[in-house]
């Protein structure tokens, strides 16, 4: 293969700016990224799963993570689950602003569904990251 042919093959299509906007919207409001690329079914299905997991996690008495709980090096241990929770976008931000779902009191931790709720809250965020990447790829024309 001559050099000019190789350069032509290796050229990568630039990502359109709108795709980044779709990605940010998909993170911020679960399901909205697919709505922006007019994939109604996927928006309802994938966004619906994220919303469902988040609210069932809260209903089970789950706990979300931020940096305020740990002290010293244990604050660093809060970072990975906080990143997972943060995937829920505006749902996490609103709860953080009103201080709902972050309480770590013994009465809440004693609930039988406390650990399940925490897991569902983490999963809601992680699944929304996947949903966001799917919407971004669609907006960038990488898959349909």
């Amino acid at each position: 293969m001559v050099k000019s042919e190789r350069l032509q093959v290796e050229r990568v299509e630039p990502t359109p700016g709108a795709a980044w906007l779709v990605g940010i919207a998909a993170w911020f409001l679960p399901g909205s990224g697919h709505l922006m690329v007019k994939k109604w079914g996927r928006a309802a299905l994938m966004g619906g799963v994220v919303w469902f997991c988040f609210f069932i996690g809260l209903a089970m008495g789950g706990h979300m993570f931020d940096l305020s709980t740990g002290q010293g090096s244990s604050a660093l241990l809060q970072v990975p689950p906080m990143i997972a929770d943060l995937g829920s976008g505006v749902l996490y931000i609103v709860c953080w602003l009103i201080g709902y779902g972050f309480a770590d009191d013994p009465a809440q931790a004693a609930r039988a569904t406390y650990e399940y709720g925490t897991t569902f809250l983490l999963i809601a965020g992680l699944l929304n990251y996947l949903t966001m990447l799917d919407a971004f790829d669609m907006a960038a024309g990488r898959h349909s």
């Binding site: 996927r42 299905l45 994938m46 799963v49 469902f52 997991c53 069932i56 039988a112 569904t113 399940y116 897991t119 569902f120 999963i123 699944l127 996947l130 949903t131 799917d134």
Partner: protein
């Protein structure tokens, strides 16, 4: 029983997203989603039995 139902709910939610993202045709997506769901359940039960015998 409640533990198993919650695990099934978790598996269903995760497999819906995995199934919707992967593959090309609706049939392939259904099959992949069901496969992921079954894997979550089977591996979850296997781990539960494994941990049952570990005296922590």
């Amino acid at each position: 029983m409640r533990h198993f139902l919650v695990m099934c709910l978790f598996a269903a939610m995760a497999s819906v997203v995995f199934g919707a993202m992967a593959k090309d045709t609706p049939r392939e997506r259904w099959l992949y989603g069901l496969k992921v769901f079954a894997q979550f359940i089977v591996i979850g039960l296997a781990l539960a039995w494994l941990l049952y015998f570990i005296p922590w």
